[in-house]
């Protein structure tokens, strides 16, 4: 169940089925992202693909002679628009041969339409290859949807897209799963039954004849609105929270004085050994590793400095390409880590995070209140970080006798924090209470070992900044023990109940986080007999999450937070 391997295998299939020759790859916007998640342009060039083309550009009238000696590999989603563009292309073919691949199930009628337009017999292949999702890590995928939920129900396009996305994951991994969903969420129920309908309709496609059945578990983000709000301290999660990763790309152009070649960097574990090694390590360990990386680099640079004999020169020539590559990588990671560390210091993120973690995992109302108040006084802390803290406090102590949310809001107002930020407090509490809670939001262990030292030891698991465990982890533990309650997570349709599946695909409506991805990583490591794959409508950091929450509840009457509304003009 490795989604990156699955996509890579498909791309190899596409490039190899068309036999040797110069090739052009025609894609749409979404399939371009899908491919670029796992392949860089120079890699795909080594597979004889020398040109990339957008299918939407093929509509523009093309003057000049056709390039008959080029083979065109088409990889697009099976949308009406794409079919239309393809028909147009086939009536006036620019290239000698066409190999057409769709990223999902396509209707017979559309194939018929294409066949009727292929008057010059240029089409050599028509296939469905199921890579209709973004493969982020080997066991993490995303559909890449922005704001799939409007007014607490599915946007119909987003629902359709999620159904095809999850189906393509299942097909690319050859799994015909049992589907369970979170009972209190109509969003999960709807998605689950739609997926089930298509599996039943396309039963020949899903006949894999496997002995053990996988489990597809559909969860709702509203059950755990905490995780996406927290500051993160592992490399991938931290970069996403502070700098935002978009399809493996990080935009650094806002850093003053950044060199042009570093204004956008690619962070891909498939192509970058340092990133692959550090993706799940914490801030302290990355600091050490980056130093190691620098040292190695300096050592190499030094060894290249003394060139006295012909033999030295020859060695240098031999090693130079590797050296060059290394230097690009070093400056990339040094820049990224440097930016992270300057943000951490500038905004006192360590202090913020410590309080965040304490609220989520300990029981000390007055202490937490004091700490938040103290932090509000601190001018260096960013307004949004304070708002997030108050949100966490509100969610945590909404039923506490001495709840002082309104007082905290007044304090934030005194710090001149604008209403458009404060209103997030209302949005999140509406979002979270729109679903009757079936799990305790905060998983507070009574005997929390308070370790005040930062990055104690190298494991970094027991430190004060990573006390919080996402709800997902608890659910996974229950599955492993075969204790996931059937009334809370029922099956779709009438299915024979298998209590202990070995392969579990978790899909979260409303997006997942890299903290959850990390939890899955450790889970897979600690339970070698189980394989967990995590996916979501998108991958959130706190900004994108608040944006999505706002969209989900904007027009909904605010039933649960009337008390707070009086204090915020929104």
């Amino acid at each position: 169940m490795n989604v990156i391997a699955a996509v890579k295998a498909y791309v190899t299939k596409i490039t190899e089925e068309s036999e040797p020759g110069m090739k052009v790859l025609m894609m749409d916007k979404e399939t371009t992202s899908i491919i670029s998640m796992v392949y860089s342009q120079s890699e795909i060039q080594q597979k004889e693909v020398y040109l990339l083309e957008r299918i939407s550009d093929s509509q523009t009238p093309n003057s000049g002679t056709p390039l008959r000696y080029l083979k065109c590999l088409v990889f697009v989603r099976p949308t009406t628009e794409n079919i239309k563009s393809l028909c147009y292309e086939l009536t006036r073919p620019k290239y000698g041969a066409y190999y057409i691949y769709f990223s999902n199930i396509i209707a017979k009628a559309d194939i018929k339409l294409l066949a009727e337009h292929d008057e010059q017999e240029v089409v050599k292949e028509v296939q469905e290859l199921y890579m209709d999702y973004l493969a982020v890590n080997p066991y993490l995928f995303s559909i890449g949807l922005i704001n799939p939920i409007k007014d607490l129900s599915w946007d119909s396009d987003a629902l359709q897209r999620s159904v095809s996305g999850v189906l393509s994951v299942l097909l690319s991994l050859k799994k015909c799963p049992l589907i369970r969903y979170q009972a209190n969420s109509s969003l999960c129920n709807k998605l689950g039954s739609k997926i089930n309908d298509i599996i039943n309709k396309e039963s020949t496609l899903f006949a894999f004849g496997q002995s053990s059945q996988a489990l597809l578990l559909i969860l709702d983000r509203r059950d755990d609105p905490i995780t996406p709000l927290l500051n993160q301290w592992t490399y991938q999660a931290m970069v996403h929270e502070l700098l935002t990763i978009n399809n493996n790309r990080v935009n650094l152009s806002k850093i003053p004085g950044i060199p042009k070649e570093l204004s956008e960097v690619v962070l891909s574990a498939e192509q970058d050994a340092f990133y692959a090694k550090n993706i799940f390590l914490n801030y302290g360990e990355i600091g050490q590793n980056i130093k190691q990386l620098m040292d190695d680099f300096q050592l190499k640079a030094k060894s290249h400095q003394k060139i006295e004999s012909i033999a030295d020169m020859k060695n240098f020539v031999d090693a130079y390409p590797q050296f060059k590559k290394l230097s690009g990588n070093v400056s990339k990671h040094v820049t990224v880590v440097g930016e992270l560390s300057s943000m951490v210091n500038k905004y006192h993120l360590l202090d913020v995070s410590e309080i965040e973690q304490e609220i989520t995992s300990q029981n000390d109302h007055s202490g937490h209140l004091q700490n938040i108040k103290k932090l509000i006084e601190n001018e260096k802390v960013r307004p949004l970080d304070l708002v997030k803290l108050v949100i966490l406090y509100t969610l945590r102590y909404q039923n506490h006798a001495n709840n002082e949310t309104t007082h905290l809001i007044e304090m934030l107002k005194k710090r001149n924090i604008p209403d458009h930020l404060l209103v997030n407090i209302i949005y999140v509490s509406e979002y979270s209470s729109s679903i009757s809670s079936q799990n305790d939001l905060y998983n507070v262990q009574d005997a929390v070992k308070i370790t005040k030292r930062f990055f104690k030891g190298l494991s970094g698991v027991d430190n004060v900044y990573t006390q919080h465990k996402p709800l997902l982890q608890e659910i996974l533990e229950e599955i492993v023990k075969g204790k996931l309650k059937e009334n809370l997570y029922p099956c779709v349709g009438v299915n024979t109940f298998n209590n202990r599946p070995q392969e579990i695909i978790v899909f979260m409506v409303g997006g997942v986080t890299y903290e959850e991805s990390l939890a899955v990583h450790y889970f897979n490591k600690n339970h070698p007999s189980f394989k967990i794959l995590l996916g979501g409508t998108s991958i959130h950091n706190s900004n994108t999450f608040l944006e999505e929450v706002k969209n989900a509840v904007f027009n909904i009457p605010k039933k649960h937070s009337r008390k707070l509304i009086r204090h915020i003009n929104h």
């Binding site: 299939k13 080594q46 000696y69 292949e125 690319s172 050994a273 692959a276 050592l299 390409p321 590797q322």
Partner: protein, 448 residues
């Protein structure tokens, strides 16, 4: 922020051990304070550039192209526990697609073929009584009932007369007629013969003549001509590219062999000779140079007069891919050990080897047999005479072949021959062993 100190200690300058507190500062510090070393580095880069040009005739800029990192074999920490998985599902619709397409196109193909056959026959006609013969080949439609041109709907009269398409026999007016010149008709019927020299013997003075045909037939015939022309035409870029790919696949086998040789040499084995590996590396270098030149030639091909912008992008892309290929696969080949290094490796290995031999001392005798019998291929005749065992004869012959193959620089064959030799040795060893066994058995029998 006292607690952060532990990790901040990390950003030390490796030269002067000053704590710079952030990696960015460290870089700037290194650039400022240790600039002299940067200078050295820079001068080396220039020196290197010149050397590179001499060695591979590569331009410096080609090496400086910032490229995304090329695929590496990474052992990712996080996917070590994922087992290889079967490839994902796929579903082909090409049969259904073809069925639909065939239904639509069969008619057209048959029609075109019919026209081509008729055209061929028409071209073979002699000059006399052409019209009758034409009507004999293609039945003309009876024009008495047709009062208007079917394609432009103008009525026929004395000024606008009826004409017949020579290919399908249908009726049209003069304005709607298309004229197909004979020489073009010839090239459609027999494209290969007419490629260079237009076969003049068949034309018989009708060079300027042409067939009157309808626009429908014209478009079908023209379409076929276009396809044929494109099949025939091999643009320079395709030829160069085919050559390039050919060389690449050649070089790949050499690189594989080189890597094998390198591993074997650094392991201290004597399967390959150091000189052989050096020759091979030189040959790879020479091929890399040729590849580089070809890709440059592709990049600098003149643009087609009617070309789309794409061609330029294509040419540059091929060039870039090739220079990446050279950089990442050919220039990174590990350097061979020097003679001294090799000797050291061999010494180390022989030391280990003798230790092993001591451990299984029962095999020593047999090994010595294989080593002492006529190792040098030049002493072929002598060893043939000296040894009566057919296996040993065979082994000596193979050794002779190996020597010849080495002279001819056919390392692949050397490898396969050495493999043969190894098998022969094995067989010989077995036979020796059984002999010993037989002897001891017979001894045992005697004793009993």
């Amino acid at each position: 922020m006292a607690e952060a100190n532990t990790f901040r200690e990390g950003f030390l300058c490796p030269v002067c051990h000053k704590d710079l507190r952030s990696p960015q500062k460290l870089i700037t510090h290194f650039q400022d304070s240790h600039s002299e070393e940067q200078d050295i580095l820079k001068s080396i880069k220039e020196f290197y550039g010149k050397a590179k040009k001499k060695i591979l005739k590569l331009e410096e800029q080609d090496l400086d192209i910032r490229s995304e990192p090329i695929q590496e074999k990474l052992t990712l920490d996080y996917d070590e526990f994922w087992k290889p998985q079967p490839s994902g599902s796929s579903r082909s619709h090409i049969d259904f697609f073809r069925a639909i397409r065939r239904r639509r196109l069969d008619h057209q193909t048959a029609e075109t073929n019919k026209l081509i056959i008729r055209l061929d026959r028409l071209l073979r006609l002699d000059g006399t009584a052409r019209k009758q013969q034409e009507q004999f080949l293609v039945a003309w439609i009876d024009g008495t009932t047709v009062s208007r041109c079917p394609s432009c709907a103008s009525s026929f009269n004395i000024a606008r007369r009826q004409h017949h398409c020579r290919l399908c026999g249908s009726i049209m007016c003069n304005d709607c007629s298309v004229f197909l010149p004979f020489d073009r008709a010839h090239s459609i019927v027999a494209p290969v013969q007419n490629l260079g020299i237009s076969s003049k013997e068949g034309l018989k003075g009708r060079n300027n003549d042409s067939f009157r045909i309808c626009s429908h037939c014209a478009s079908m015939v023209e379409h076929r001509r276009m396809i044929q022309a494109e099949q025939m035409m091999q643009p320079i870029i395709s030829q160069l590219y085919a050559h390039l790919q050919n060389l690449k696949s050649n070089i790949q086998s050499e690189v594989d062999l080189y890597e094998k040789m390198y591993r074997s040499l650094t392991d201290g084995e004597s399967t390959f000779k150091l000189q052989d590996a050096q020759t091979l590396k030189a040959s790879i270098g020479a091929k890399a140079e040729t590849i580089d030149t070809i890709s440059k030639k592709i990049a600098s091909l003149p643009e087609d007069e009617s070309s789309v912008i794409k061609i330029e992008a294509l040419q540059n892309s091929i060039r870039r891919a090739t220079s990446n290929y050279i950089k990442d696969y050919l220039l990174t080949l590990p350097p061979l050990p020097s003679v001294q290094e090799l000797a050291a490796i061999k010494r180390y290995r022989s030391l280990r080897y003798s230790e092993e031999e001591e451990q299984n001392s029962d095999k020593i005798e047999i090994k010595r047999v294989t080593v002492t019998t006529g190792w040098s291929p030049s002493s072929l005749e002598k060893s043939v005479q000296s040894e009566g065992d057919p296996l040993i004869d065979q082994m000596n012959i193979v050794r002779n072949y190996i020597a010849q193959a080495k002279e001819a620089q056919r390392f692949e064959e050397v490898v396969s021959l050495e493999e043969n030799l190894r098998l022969l040795k094995e067989a010989y060893r077995q036979s020796q062993l059984t002999k010993i066994d037989e002897k001891s058995e017979s001894k045992l029998q005697k004793n009993s």
